[in-house]
């Protein structure tokens, strides 16, 4: 869902850069007081994994594909601010090195994927922990709904830029990203099940605590 340059107008680019910049600087300050040294290798490996996974587009039918965004996965492993930092780093490298997502649109891409998807996932997951059902289902629902919310924000930015009317694209964006989001939820659940079996004795995954803490 990387927005290329040309889709957003200047006011939307500037606004999203400012919003993302403000949110990230708040988050980094918060992380400075809470970040544990033992998280460093996980931060690096998770970033490399999500970058690699984002390169793999999976066909979802009807001549369309989707790939993992990874914000919910990172949030459930390391907590939301670390996740925002990981996804932002990925988006910067993709844009600056590989022309995946525009430079002017980077603020919007960070907002949609590193902030909205992560934080929507954080609130939805923690809300769902109050309801008693399987953790796997909870993770799939979180991945799905956070991806759809991120797609809605993308549609809002496109319409805010007057490139296309919101009514004209909202249903299509939500429709495609419901299928892509289901894939996001399932991949997130599978990766977390694997990590729970293999590394969780040495490293406590953020979602194994009573709800995910915010830093």
């Amino acid at each position: 869902m990387h927005i290329p340059d040309g889709f957003l107008d200047l006011k939307t680019c500037v606004t999203t850069y400012l919003l993302s910049g403000a949110a990230l600087s708040y988050g980094i300050n918060k992380l400075k007081n809470n970040f544990s040294e033992k998280n460093i290798p996980i931060l690096g490996i998770l970033g490399a994994f999500i970058f690699a996974a984002q390169m793999i587009n999976i066909p979802i039918g009807f001549g369309t594909s989707g790939h993992l965004m990874g914000g919910v996965l990172a949030m459930l492993v390391l907590g939301p601010w670390s996740a925002s930092l990981i996804i932002t780093s990925i988006l910067v490298i993709q844009s600056v090195f590989f022309m995946d997502g525009g430079i002017l649109a980077l603020g919007a891409n960070v907002l949609n994927m590193a902030l909205i998807q992560v934080w929507a996932g954080y609130f939805i997951y923690n809300f769902l922990t109050k309801i008693n059902f399987s953790d796997k289902l909870r993770i799939v629902i979180t991945g799905l709904s956070a991806t759809v919310i991120s797609a809605v924000f993308t549609a809002l930015e496109l319409s805010f830029s007057n490139i296309v009317n919101l009514n004209f694209i909202l249903a299509a964006m939500v429709g495609w990203h419901t299928i892509i989001g289901l894939m996001e939820g399932i991949i997130t659940m599978l990766v977390l099940s694997y990590l729970k079996k293999t590394v969780s004795t040495q490293f406590e995954l953020a979602y194994q605590k009573e709800g995910v803490k915010d830093a």
């Binding site: 390169m55 780093s89 590989f98």
Partner: protein, 92 residues
């Protein structure tokens, strides 16, 4: 630091597998946003932006190798960048 877990080697091998084989594993179909931009007729507004490489390809004279190497390079850059950021954060 984490005690080295034997699974970490498997995870690293899997990341290298995905990154290097991305030209074979990845579908070239449009993603959700591109599909909407195509069907709603604004895909032609997309512009190339500045970037160091053209898409996911390094200047190597073999397409699979060029895209595979780009995937590996990106994954390594991210690993090193996040390690550095993590070290700066944990110093404070």
């Amino acid at each position: 630091m984490l005690k080295v877990n034997k699974y970490i080697y498997l995870i690293i091998a899997f990341i290298a597998f995905l990154a290097f084989l991305n030209p074979i594993l990845s579908s070239s179909l449009p993603d959700g946003l591109e599909k909407v931009a195509e069907t709603k007729n604004f895909i032609n507004k997309a512009q190339d932006s500045f970037s160091i490489f053209e898409d996911y390809s390094l200047p190597i004279n073999n397409e699979l190798l060029s895209r595979g190497a780009a995937g590996l390079l990106g994954a390594i850059i991210l690993y090193l960048l996040l390690l550095k950021i993590g070290k700066i954060l944990s110093k404070n």
